[in-house]
C-alpha cells in the first residue's frame, strides 16, 4: 500500500533559521513526489515536484530513493513561509495523490 509519512505535526523556527520538513514514503512503484502548501485561509497549491528539480521560493527537495525520503529544505526561513505543508505521492496509473498528514511550519520574527 502507498503511504506518506510526515513525522512532525508542527515545526517552529525563527526567521533566518534553516528549515527541513521531513517526508518519507512507502511505495512499490516508481515514485512521483510533490510538496503542496496551504497558506492561512488559502487553497492548497503546488510548491514543487521532484521531477522538476527546481527551487521555488527558496525551497528545494531531493528525492532519495535509498532512504525513501523527499525532505523539503530552505536555508533561511521567512515569516511568510508560515503555512501547512503537505508531502504527496502520486500513484502511477491512478489519478490520485496520497497525502501525508501535513506539517505546520511556524516562522517567528
Amino acid at each position: 500500500a502507498q503511504r506518506v509519512t510526515q513525522p512532525e505535526k508542527l515545526l517552529s523556527v525563527f526567521k533566518g533559521a534553516p528549515v527541513e520538513l521531513k517526508c518519507n514514503y512507502s511505495y512499490s512503484g516508481s515514485p512521483e513526489l510533490f510538496w503542496y502548501v496551504q497558506y492561512s485561509r488559502q487553497r492548497l497549491q503546488l510548491l514543487l515536484r521532484h521531477i522538476s528539480r527546481e527551487s521555488i521560493k527558496g525551497f528545494t527537495a531531493d528525492l532519495n530513493k535509498g532512504e525513501t525520503s523527499f525532505h523539503l529544505k530552505k536555508p533561511f526561513a521567512q515569516e511568510e513561509d508560515s503555512a501547512m505543508y503537505y508531502c504527496a505521492l502520486r500513484v502511477t496509473g491512478f489519478q490520485k495523490l496520497v497525502f501525508g498528514t501535513g506539517t505546520r511550519l511556524l516562522v517567528s520574527p
Binding site: E32, L44, Q45, L46, R90, F94, Q95, K96, F99, G102
Partner: protein, 114 residues
C-alpha cells in the same frame, strides 16, 4: 477568473439533512477530484472522475454521491448528514496524464454538521 471554484465556502447544517457542494473548473482539465480534510488536517481522496466517468471511489459511504454533468463540473451530494461529516471538502482538477501532473485545488468548503 478563478481556476477551480467551489460553492458554498461555508455550510452549516443539522444532522440528517441533505446538502450539495458544487465545483467548477475552467482549466480545460478532464479529471476532477473530491478530497476531505478532517479536523486534524489529514487530507484524503474521496472520488475521482475522468471525462465524467468515476475512476476512483475510496470506500466512501453511500451517503456521498458525486455527480459530474460535464467535464468542467463535479458536484458532491451528501445524504443524511452525520456529525462526523464535518470537515473541509476540497475539489481539485488536473489533466489525465501518466506522470507528473499537477492538481489544482479549490478554496474548500467548510462543512459543519450540528
Amino acid at each position: 477568473d478563478t481556476a477551480v471554484s467551489q460553492t458554498p465556502k461555508y455550510l452549516v447544517t443539522q444532522m440528517g439533512n441533505d446538502k450539495s457542494i458544487k465545483c467548477e473548473q475552467n482549466l480545460g482539465h478532464d479529471t476532477m477530484y473530491w478530497y476531505k480534510q478532517d479536523s486534524k488536517k489529514f487530507l484524503k481522496i474521496m472520488f475521482s472522475y475522468n471525462n465524467k466517468e468515476l475512476i476512483i471511489n475510496e470506500t466512501v459511504p453511500n451517503r456521498f454521491s458525486p455527480k459530474s454533468p460535464d467535464k468542467a463540473h463535479l458536484n458532491l451530494h451528501i445524504n443524511s448528514l452525520e456529525l462526523g461529516d464535518s470537515a473541509v471538502y476540497f475539489c481539485a482538477s488536473s489533466h489525465y496524464s501518466p506522470s507528473n501532473t499537477e492538481a489544482f485545488f479549490g478554496q474548500g468548503t467548510r462543512l459543519t454538521v450540528v
